[in-house]
């Protein structure tokens, strides 16, 4: 990050390669739409680019970028709520939340569905700690919550996931 602030394009490319999958995964989990997630990814990196000179030496980069991504998502959602029309800006219908039919035949598919079915707060906490690999403290700072609250969300999310996955293991 410091090399990128210093003007190195190569440093940005390395940074992008390193953090973009985590940020994209997080946004995908929040929006449940690839198009919206990619739009938000662009907004996030344009904000990172504009704020690069304000980056403080030594700050952990992934939580920094994820917090910007989360804020972009919340801003976008707030703006969408205040819009009266139901069409997205390109004239298409908004994407509905995914609906699944039948019983999944792979654990990974079942897990994906179970994750999508979780309440947003639990889903976010599990995504950040389990999939993006942040520590509890880092996830708490991204979510603007206390560490205890994040631990609680992860724990409750796990319990719900476990119930869902048990249903998958014993479909009868």
């Amino acid at each position: 990050m410091e090399a990128y602030v210093g003007g190195s394009a190569e440093a940005f490319n390395n940074l992008y390669r390193r953090v973009s999958p985590s940020v994209m995964g997080y946004l995908l989990r929040l929006t449940r739409s690839r198009v919206r997630a990619e739009d938000l990814l662009q907004i996030t990196f344009s904000k990172v680019h504009r704020a690069r000179e304000s980056y403080l030496k030594g700050a952990p980069v992934l939580p920094w970028v994820l917090a910007i991504a989360r804020r972009s998502f919340l801003d976008e959602r707030r703006a969408a709520k205040s819009r009266t029309e139901d069409l997205s800006p390109d004239g298409t219908l908004p994407e509905p939340p995914p609906t699944y039919e039948g019983t999944p035949n792979e654990v990974s598919v079942a897990l994906e569905r179970a994750l999508d079915a979780l309440p947003e707060a639990y889903r976010e906490a599990i995504q950040l700690t389990k999939i993006s690999g942040l520590s509890i403290a880092e996830a708490a700072s991204v979510l603007g919550a206390t560490e205890t609250a994040v631990k609680l969300r992860v724990h409750r999310g796990y319990n719900l996931l476990r119930k869902e996955l048990e249903r998958f293991a014993r479909p009868s």
Partner: protein, 232 residues
């Protein structure tokens, strides 16, 4: 958490890569005309932030001396300002001198931002020279002076807080609210301490309402403004 997590063995989804076209667009946009910018440390910014209350106290002291304020009052005010500048420096060191993500726990920082105005209130109350009845303070010349003094104190504090926030602009996506509150505290305290030197009244109600309330209100306003100004 020492037990092995039974969910560890699950095939957690891999982070999803964005499409090549989006990645190209982002990389092109973010690397075009990339100029060299200085990467400052949080400690340096915290040190620069202390210049704001120092300048405010200096300005008010100069005004007090120019208006022939009693030497004892100016000296006492300067001693108070010196002691509080140590508290402010420690607050900045504790709350802002490390980069976001490496700062102390949120609850501790919130505690500091809430506690210092309370302690400052107690200090103002203890160092006030006499107190009139509230009914007397709330009307006539006392009230007019309190309004005028409070307005000046608030305006100077708001300008100082705004200036110090510009110094930290877009630097904290993680906890912008509490960082803003601490910067509001810096601006408000600088202004209140300076006003304590220049203001001719040291009556209890006056210093608490016109000088002390300004600090508390700038902490609250700083928290609100910080969420907008400090987050990228």
């Amino acid at each position: 958490m020492s037990e092995r997590d039974p969910l560890d063995d699950l095939p957690w989804p891999e982070p999803a890569a964005p499409s090549a076209s989006v990645s190209t667009k982002i990389c092109d946009g973010c690397t075009k005309g990339l100029a060299e910018r200085p990467c400052r440390s949080a400690r340096r910014r915290a040190a620069l932030s202390m210049l704001f209350p120092t300048a405010t106290v200096g300005l008010f002291s100069w005004r007090a001396i120019a208006h022939h304020a009693p030497e004892g009052v100016v000296r006492a005010g300067l001693y108070g300002a010196l002691a509080w500048s140590i508290v402010l420096s420690l607050t900045l060191l504790f709350g802002l001198a490390s980069p976001p993500g490496r700062r102390p726990r949120l609850a501790l920082r919130v505690g500091v931002a809430a506690l210092i105005p309370v302690v400052f209130f107690v200090y103002l109350e203890k160092t006030a020279s006499g107190t009139v009845a509230f009914s007397e303070f709330s009307q006539g010349a006392y009230a007019a002076h309190a309004w005028r003094c409070g307005a000046i104190c608030f305006a100077v504090g708001a300008i100082m807080s705004g200036g110090v926030m510009l110094l930290w602009r877009r630097s904290d996506p993680l906890t912008p609210g509490i960082s803003g509150a601490l910067l509001g505290l810096v601006g408000g305290m600088g202004s209140a301490l300076g006003m304590g030197i220049a203001c001719p009244s040291h009556e209890g109600w006056h210093v608490c309402v016109s000088h002390g309330v300004v600090v508390a209100s700038l902490v609250v306003l700083g928290a609100a403004a910080g969420r907008r100004m400090l987050a990228p």
